[in-house]
């Protein structure tokens, strides 16, 4: 089976700092994989390279066999890659519903003329996508009203809205940047279940950046470890956990190995 996503020797430098160094990465469709690594290891930079926010200095990024290098973030999204952000970036002064509708931006087909004269095409599309947004709200288990402003939601709910917004574009691949950061154990468990459902029920491939080992070990089929921009290990959660380099680079810093079990 062809790879959904393939990174070949991708490098990104910021001045003298090599944030991502010669990283190879392949991903088959239908997987849930994690990227872990200490702070500053280049995980988020890798996401930004895939989504077109940064352009790689070297290397090639292929999605469904076609290069993503040089595309703008909106074009990457249109190809079928959605993401969430490490520090939630919702549109605070818009309602939950509107946030999700913005996520559907690439799917609206009504022309300005349709909009101005509110043609059946405009109305139909608007109603259809709003209904779908409501389904998404239910899917991610949001308790808040769709009419609530995003900035008024509690933290955990905001995370869910962000995932719903990312799903709204009907992506093939979703990049989740620390989706459980700052959550309590119950919320974390809920989110972990949600991530698995993305794949199982919607068939979306997932890449996860995560700090909570419980989440990483619990749901990912493969773990990639970055340290100082380099890929130092890759494999099943079990393999990675036993890899001496990983223990040294990532877990060895005062963290007992037992803590990750």
């Amino acid at each position: 089976m062809a790879n959904l996503l393939e990174l070949r020797k991708v490098t990104k430098r910021f001045g003298g700092l090599v944030a991502v160094n010669q990283v190879d990465f392949t991903l088959e469709p239908g997987r849930i994989v994690s990227i872990i690594g200490p702070n500053g290891a280049g995980k988020t930079t890798l996401f930004n390279l895939i989504t077109g926010i940064y352009k790689p200095d070297e290397g090639e990024i292929l999605f469904e066999g076609r290069s993503l290098v040089g595309l703008r973030p909106d074009q990457v999204t249109a190809r079928g890659i959605s993401r969430t952000f490490q520090n939630i970036r919702l549109f605070g002064n818009m309602t939950v519903m509107e946030n999700i509708l913005v996520g559907m931006h690439t799917r609206f087909r009504a022309s300005p003329v349709d909009i101005l004269f509110q043609t059946p095409r405009f109305r139909g599309e608007e109603r259809e996508l709003r209904e779908e947004a409501l389904r998404l709200i239910r899917f991610v288990g949001l308790r808040a009203s769709p009419d609530e402003l995003a900035k008024n939601l509690p933290y955990g709910e905001q995370r869910k809205v962000e995932i719903a917004r990312a799903l709204a574009a009907r992506p093939k691949l979703i990049l989740l940047d620390e989706p459980t950061a700052g959550m309590n154990p119950q919320e974390t468990a809920e989110t972990t279940r949600l991530i698995r459902r993305l794949r199982d029920e919607l068939g979306i491939t997932v890449i996860l950046i995560e700090h909570q080992m419980r989440v990483v070990m619990g749901i990912s089929e493969r773990v990639t470890v970055l340290d100082y921009g380099e890929k130092i290990a890759e494999g099943s959660p079990e393999e990675v956990r036993r890899n001496p380099r990983v223990i040294e680079a990532y877990l060895g810093r005062g963290v007992a190995i037992g803590a990750i079990a």
Binding site: T51, I53, R72, P73, D74, Q75, T77, A78, S82, R83, F85, R89, L90, F91, G92, N93, M94, T95, M97, E98, L101, V102, G103, M104, H105, T106, F108, A110, P112, I115, L116, Q118, F122, E126, R127, R130, E131, A133, L134, S145, P146, D147, L149, R165, A169
Partner: protein, 474 residues
Amino acid sequence: MIGAKAKVWIERVQNGRSLYLVGVLAYILAALLLMNWLNRPGLRDAVWYPLVSALAFAAFLGSLLLIYYAPLAGLVKGILGLSILLVLLPFLGVRNTFLLEVATQVGIFAAMALGLNIVVGFAGLLDLGYVAFYAVGAYLWAIFGSHQANIAFGTNRFPLEPEWFFLFLFLAVGVAAFTGILLGLPVLRLRGDYLAIVTLAFGEVIRVIVNNLDKPINLTNGPQGIRPVQRPPLFFKPWLNALGIRLDDPTLYALYFYFLVLVVIGFAIWLARRLENSWVGRAWTAIREDELAAQAMGIPLVRMKLAAFATGASFAGAMGMIFAAKQYFINPESFTFMESIGVLVMVIVGGMGSIPGAIVGATVVTILNLQILKGLSLMLNKLRQAGVVIPILNFPLSQWPTQLEPAKYERLVFGILLILMMILRPQGIIPERRHRMELAEALGREEAPELERLPAEEELPPVIPAPEVKPARD
């Protein structure tokens, strides 16, 4: 049948709705009576007259705001509002054309504020050179609707006949939108402060070009400006005569421009509202809220920003053209940086991103500028001529320097107004409200019958006691 109707009426009285209607009508009547009383001969010479008449007019226009907020059925609101705008105001205006002049100016600025609101309020692009598009529209008609084009192109085909005005109105919209795109292309990669500085410079560049383009080709006649500018045709004059309405041409033109501006504003509101509640408006707001996240949602930043710029510019273009025809004379003085700031103040005072806010902001600022400050100046002059001396200070008003006339306080007033707004009500007079009825609409239900919960205290509109405020539904 009658019983059922009576029942409805009783229910309405119990709901307190008809009380509101009575209240609103009483307010309108009181304002009308006041304005009527002010029209009496003899009063005009009174010292307080200019100020009181300005306040009376403001109070009269305030009835529109009252109607907007009153918990009445949409149809009732519409009828009341339209009858004020289409009947009462013109009627008052025929007796006192200055009112029409002010109302027209309010309208011109309201449409500009609506346009700038799209750029600044919706898309969050701080444009400090907005007046440039106004100038583009104004000069487009001024050049071809006067002898100026003859001088520039060495023909004697011009001025164009008045009938061309309407074609040029569309042309002005297009040319201004095109200018907006031209400006937007290079600068839209900039953000925030940088964008503001570059647009400010652009506004000044256009003014300086207009000021200096009297050579090598005399296109704009430089600082002297262009006069006379062709006015639109009085095509309806025979019809009015047939109806037995005989008015002199200045009054007719005043009415004409008033209605023309009303039509354009109606169009502008319609356009802004439709866009606001579509993927276009949501994309703009998303860009305002978080550019990076918006782009990650698949929004092409440059294209959407250009669309905002072009749409906003087109409003200004149309208004500039109407302004040129109305003023009969234009020169670069009308297109200074202060005008851009003025429109921006209107948007901020009214409430960024809020369509009714832009209109209210334009009304407040324009009336303040055109009527209240001028009224104060007139009052001061009268007192000065009467040789009044300020008692305790023993300061004769005749020695009050003319540089300190209230009419020259425009900038000071803008400044104070902005500071006060930022302290007391940073979200504007009528803050932006997000569309709240999605659920009901999405499910195809009737409009949700339940009352909306009261807005939080800081959101309460001023003046109005506001129980049962209906959402700002369009």
